[in-house]
Assembly symmetry: D2
Homo-oligomer: 291 residues x 4
């Protein structure tokens, strides 16, 4: 079944000429040795900035699955219990994104002006020990004028001082360890950005999604967001993919909130292939017309 | 103004003969050197098990404050911005608690039967590194039959192996460190209980509130809750206070979610005096009549 | 060239009927990408308990090497500077060991009776944080009567509580981490034994050498020694190899003192094959007679 | 008894006009609750650069003490077993130091040119995890030309990036933690210097002794030494005291080797007052004449 068959009709409105569209194609394959529970987080987020024009999720398996949405943020988790054997998850979607206009003069907000709902993004978390890196953050970035440029300086510092090295970190690696060992992958870069921001009293969180990159092989991407000028602004300290092209899956305090897959049982991933490609207006129209 | 003046009328219903009532009296005093933001979490929780018969919060200060409730759990946070000087927070309440019938045969639920909303209580957090203590938990408790008795064994192990030592830990101490150093205070005991449970795939969280103890000096209390038989069940590995008498303030993933006070700025606590006392039926009636 | 050709004549003395002999055969192969310095520690130790009846070291390489002995303990280090390419170290020896009579009633010595030269074996080291595990050691072993049986209890506890799992640890893993994660290899088991002993004020050190085991594949072995009854006594918490058969290379504060190879430069080990076999009296006589 | 009474006669030789002399006066007082063993390391080192013109050690206590010298470096340790009560150690000395001519162009030596006896100063130790800070060291200092100036750059970096904050660290604090928290005292500054050097393959060690400073209150001082141009060269990243005026007690791999006092038992320090003052030629002559 072609993806187009799944699409609800939609049209590029003339007033949203700058909207862009992406086709998501994600395939995950696992080998399960004994009964295992999976919680996947692969659905593109539905929010004010992303419209899901069409999507499908399928398991090449007999296992029943169930999708639920986190009541606060609308993250859509998929739960599935698998007895044994090999199975494949296939998620496909067509996502339209509103353009994001970056305000390079966006200010930091003082604590007492922060909205209630972002306060918890100031707290340290499992992989972001902002309570331990406070003095380091102030020594490195405390002298800079507050605002967008300071958070950009954080992202730049990470890009310049941390080596992107696949295999240098694992699922339990924290920002403190990355700061010491000076190496990591996108998730680690983002955790360190989150940590520095929180240490400076700038609310920050991790954002994960589908991204385009030439190198390295297809993977989910993680970047960080800082609360500036009254909204969340994305930063990618890896500089590996244009942040405007990120198809967001979720935002969370750190990686434990937004893992694309959480496993309970003896299973292992055999392959992953999450990809996006930009879709031009003509393809969209074609899809719209019914494929 | 006597507490009775604050009370909305209420009556011990005959069908709820076992209900108990507690008077909460909490006073916190701070010295503020320069503008500081506080987020307090001192309000007793309003939920199915606790009825707030009356309460007041007051600041001996000109600073305006604002109370907001966390949309998911109803925790009531109080934000206040203080310019400088000494100030005191006074919180008083009369709280009625439903009796909790502990089911000593309550089972653990397999992952695929857990309700969606408790799943996130399986993840490691800043102070509960269940991702690092997995093998330890299985070696210590993996051979025990699942259920209430196993979680009780965890609480007992903590009581027997961890020394209660004021000053042995600080605000950044984690369960892993407590497991290594074998000392801590109530918060650390509870973190370790949470961590072991999660490592065994039992959803668990920290619960904080007002408790009665002779020793040590008045403080907020922290215990842990495990998800057993389809509901949250309290355990106190310190054995310092009867869990049935805990007037709950909040439940959270770990201490960072439920700190009684979070400070942003140069201020320090001068004194704290959170206390509860049981209130007999006659006192309740009096309070009721005098309202 | 057969090993026998290397042997200095020696004879099993009638007064040392219980002496045993072992043939050591150790081959290490490295690929060197650019100039690299190696410091090897593979020579069997010459001391009161081990007699080196014959030995050879050879590098299949043009690189000059140089052997020096540590002035305190007589460890023989081999330094070699390799420009590039593949090279192989071959060490072979015939080692006679005096029997060690274990005194199961050997006492611990109080601090003030310890000889000066063992005092430094009470201090924490890189991989043995006895300063962090003090309370844990006392809680686990403090109630046991001091002496050989207590150290044996430490070795037994490690065997029972730590899983032998190749790949679970790396070169920077410390005893504290092993205590938390409950897994490791021989070096980690030994580090934990050293750490508990020191925490209890029992001088302890790491001993490494050539050992016999069926499983796992050939590797150097590490055990620990405690100072009991006025001398060093070996314990093997892995129970993988009879300690009496260990052909000792060195003893050190921890693994950093006694690594079999330390590399400075871009090189990697391709294979290792350190082995011993017991040599019977007839073979010894044959070797003695000239081969 | 005046210090002069303790002095063996000595004379400022005309050929050593640049020699300088210091009077050391060190008083340590302890309260001992139950039998405790102490190992003190307070004697000024006798070596090629320091001549001990006179000295005394005294305990205001009945306890017998015994002094022994480490065979490798000549450090003089004092062991004393105290039953209970208060006691005071008094160490006084008159020390002549040879001038040290610093060669600002001293080179680093490649590994294969290092003398055997300094090799072990490349290894990580309890408080100097050079195995964890390797990439950080290379990223910060790897681009600088090797030699004295690079080690000076390390000392400068520490001075600029680490805050001197009494109370920010404790006896178990390591260089990694100091690198993360960006605060420490002299011992921590020195540990970090040692760690960076070793990570860059420059042999380095901790040096402790008596130093002059106005601020903070009298304490032992710790600096670090790097092996440059074939000898040990001192660096003080705290910039608190002129390194030429350090009266050396000992050099070690890290603080555990050279603690001024190691305690085994329930005792606590009541006061410490280690001090030095420069002694002019006339005072020396007087002391000499009055001996």
């Amino acid at each position: 079944m072609p993806l187009s068959a799944l699409l609800k009709p939609f049209r590029l409105s003339s007033r949203r000429a700058a909207e862009r569209a992406f086709r998501v194609d994600c395939e995950l394959t696992y080998e399960v040795d004994a009964p295992t529970d999976f919680v996947f987080l692969v659905h593109a987020l539905k929010d004010a900035e992303q419209h899901i024009a069409g999507e499908s999720i399928d398991f090449h398996s007999d296992s029943a699955f169930h999708v639920f949405a986190d009541p606060t943020q609308g993250h859509r988790f998929t739960r599935v219990h698998v007895e044994a054997g090999r199975f494949t998850l296939l998620y496909r979607a067509l996502v339209k994104k509103r353009p994001f206009t970056r305000d390079l003069r966006a200010p930091e907000q003082p604590i007492h002006e922060l909205p209630d709902h972002v306060l918890h993004n100031l707290a340290p978390t499992r992989y972001c020990e902002s309570d331990l890196l406070g003095r380091a953050a102030y020594k490195l970035f405390g002298h800079l004028p507050p605002g967008h440029a300071r958070v950009q300086a954080i992202a730049d510092w990470i890009f310049e001082h941390i080596e992107y090295a696949i295999g240098s970190t694992g699922p339990t690696t924290t920002a403190r360890e990355v700061f010491v060992q000076r190496a990591g992958v996108c998730r680690d870069f983002a955790h360190l950005g989150v940590t520095f921001c929180r240490a400076l009293n700038i609310p920050a969180r991790l954002a994960v999604g589908y991204a385009r990159f030439d190198e390295p092989p297809p993977d989910f991407h993680a970047v960080f967001e800082a609360w500036l000028g009254g909204r969340w602004v994305l930063f990618d300290p890896t500089r590996m993919s244009p942040v405007d092209d990120l198809v967001r899956i979720a935002s969370g305090r750190d990686a434990k909130d937004v893992a694309f897959a959480t496993l309970f049982g003896p299973a292992r991933m055999l392959s992953m292939n999450p990809q996006i490609e930009a879709v031009g207006p003509q393809q969209l129209a074609l899809a719209d017309a019914g494929g």
